[in-house]
Symmetry: C2
């Protein structure tokens, strides 16, 4: 899919290894086969058999670091451990596994701690400098042996081109790898930032919404990274929804090792703006990829709301539309049922006058007016079909009363979503 | 499916015609074929071709009446007209059509008014004594001619056994007729109450959630009907969800004509309690039928939450579980993925300690513990399979901290939901 660009950045290759001084690796340590609690053996994800399931990302130098986490009260154990480790604003490496979420287990924290110790030993760093994350099935005890056995190979294989191997290791039902990197300028120095993201189900705009790891060689304080990250997550990942389910294990973290040699950024100056813009571009593009790769999805849907009394109202309305199961089914069926869009706008939890609301729809196939002032208008079914045949469709909503705006990203609801989730464990 | 009974009531036959003095009828007036705005002709619902699409329910005497409506800001025109007519607490008859929702159209109110006038003329009553409702496609102009042409036949065919014909006329994607009636006692007199419900998609607990018409021969004030209805809707229809979409046209109305001859109920006394209990039984059973007949559904899911700090918290948690797409897909796949239940509990928008929460699952196939104190426990996959094979499954959640409780009803998410909604208009 096409990348979108805002402001002064340049897309480059390399994902989480694009920035100076970041190595990565991924291996298959054997978590794909794991004992069930009942003693049986089951292959969680048939495709995972040949897929990596354990990854490391390591910086040559200590990093300033910040993160945001899921708001779910059933938090994955790795989140509790990472929060503790990152409290000092510092980190050096990430250890992450797929297949098993290490959540809702009595020994979750113990296992997450152990993962940090095992990785830190191999890397010769302190366990407290590790970020740890897990994704996969909830509520099955994490077998630590495959991770212990694989750690040496994982560490020895670290390389400045290891982003692809690491990325493969964090994927679950993802059908496409999701990574991106940009170059930007701070104080005359070229800086680089790259990110990778895992996620295609259990995705909803209620916090970090996914596993996302972002690395940069910019020199910037942990406090400012946190500020930029908290701001960007609201208008990027939190505005993307696949199925309305907020995961237990969501986490986005940013590590900055300062190796670009820029003047350290410690105030909200022009350099900070450049950093924030780079971060926005990384996260916005990852959010779009995530929505497009929603479980079973065939189309990316963008809902752009403007003319609202506030950005907040615009956000609520945009999310209401992209989260509607009826709307999502209609996109899959390529059926221009404009009434369903008004319906989803109408039940958005915000105050506004629906009789002022206009709705348009566009894609590479054309542009069409669906509604004016709260009423569905006459439109050519033929043109509507052409618009809906495309892979990327935009719904444009004008609330007719102010300057508030927002964009949200979603996907269609398909037979395959049901298929994937009807039988995820077996 | 089996009826559920609370308190002192007896199930009887007859639906909305069970109570004394209520006639009904339904005909096919031809709304199934209607011109599109572009001039083409399309058959909205192939099954609707031979199906009734226009219904009348009429009381022999004037009724005390009350209603609750959708909270959607895009309100169907019939709702605006009914609200005005019912403001005096009186009504005599209901006119309702399916196929076209008469919503998001510039001439909606005009058409809804016209429907009342046409029906009132035939019945020899005032148009202001009519309740009017519509359900079907949103945003297409309602053709009034078929309704005008059919009204005489519709009125002439009214009978005390017309409940089935009327019920057929309000169905859209419903696969089974949904009606129920009960006998109960007030002050030594036998009273009867019956109801019918339409609804299987665009259903979510955010207000009336459906078209529901309830008739009774009890003698009770409009004010008390409203009180009982507003209370019952919160714990019945508002606790049922199919797809999270709150319709534009939802309405539940109750008409009481007093022909049972009981002493008029004007205070919250024992008779009022009996009335309220009858209404609860009608609405609870209709809510269960609605969830079971959710678009594409193969199973009814009941989520019973107890031990919460308040009923409100219990309601929020119960709804969070039955609304989760991942949970619904897992029920369809008969996969006991207990982690997903904790996940959905965890993101419920209420304050509680997830480490105190226990989860069980039961059906006619057996009962099984899925989780204790926030952690998934070992369970037999074999027993779980037996529980999940059944058509009606109950999830029992104990929050471990108080006496608050609630029940919510939902269904599984299936391929057919996507199929039905991917191509609803054509």
């Amino acid at each position: 899919m096409e990348k979108k660009k805002i402001g002064n950045i340049k897309f480059v290759e390399g994902g989480v290894c694009a920035a100076k001084g970041f190595k990565a690796n991924g291996i298959q340590c054997g978590l794909a086969h794991k004992p069930l609690t009942s003693g049986e053996s089951v292959n969680v994800n048939p495709a995972a058999k040949k897929k990596n399931d354990l990854a490391l990302i390591v910086s040559d130098r200590e990093c300033a670091a910040a993160a945001v986490y899921t708001t779910n009260k059933a938090k994955g154990a790795p989140i509790l451990v990472t929060k503790k480790h990152i409290a000092d604003g510092k980190a050096r490496a990430v250890i992450v596994n797929s297949v098993n979420a290490n959540t809702c287990n009595p020994d979750g924290v113990e296992k997450a701690d152990k993962m940090c110790v095992l990785a830190a030993e191999q890397l010769g760093i302190a366990p407290e400098d590790m970020i740890v994350a897990s994704t996969g099935v909830i509520g099955q005890v994490l077998p630590i042996e495959p991770i212990a056995n694989g750690m040496k190979e994982l560490a020895e294989g670290l390389s400045y081109e290891g982003n692809g191997a690491a990325l493969e290791a964090i994927m679950t039902t993802d059908t496409m790898p999701k990574e991106i990197a940009v170059e930007f300028e701070m104080g005359g120095k070229i800086c680089t930032m790259g990110g990778m993201l895992k996620g295609s189900g259990m995705i909803h705009p209620n916090m970090a919404t996914t596993l996302t790891f972002i690395t940069t060689d910019a020199d910037i304080s942990a406090e400012l990274i946190q500020r930029a990250l908290s701001g960007c997550v609201k208008v990027t990942l939190n505005m993307a929804s696949v199925d309305g389910d907020t995961s237990t294990n969501d986490m986005v973290c940013v590590m900055a090792n300062g190796m670009a040699g820029n003047k350290p950024v410690v105030h909200e100056d022009a350099d900070y703006q450049a950093f924030e813009n780079a971060l926005y571009n990384i996260m916005m593009n990852l959010a779009r990829m995530m929505a497009r790769d929603g479980e079973g999805a065939t189309k990316l849907v963008e809902c752009a709301v403007n003319g609202a009394d506030s950005d907040k109202t615009a956000q609520i309305v945009a999310k209401s539309v992209i989260c509607s199961s009826l709307f999502k089914s209609m996109i899959f069926g390529e059926d221009a049922n404009a009434g369903r869009i008004y319906c989803a706008i109408g039940y958005a939890d915000a105050e506004f006058d629906i009789s002022k609301v206009d709705v348009d729809m566009c894609s590479k196939g054309g542009k069409i007016a669906l509604g004016r002032k709260g009423c569905v208008v006459e439109f050519s079914e033929e043109t509507a079909k052409k618009v809906l045949e495309e892979d990327e469709i935009t719904i444009i909503i004008n609330m007719g009363c102010g300057a508030g705006s927002a964009v949200a990203w979603g996907c269609d609801l398909t037979y395959d979503y049901v298929k994937i989730n009807g039988d995820y464990r077996s």
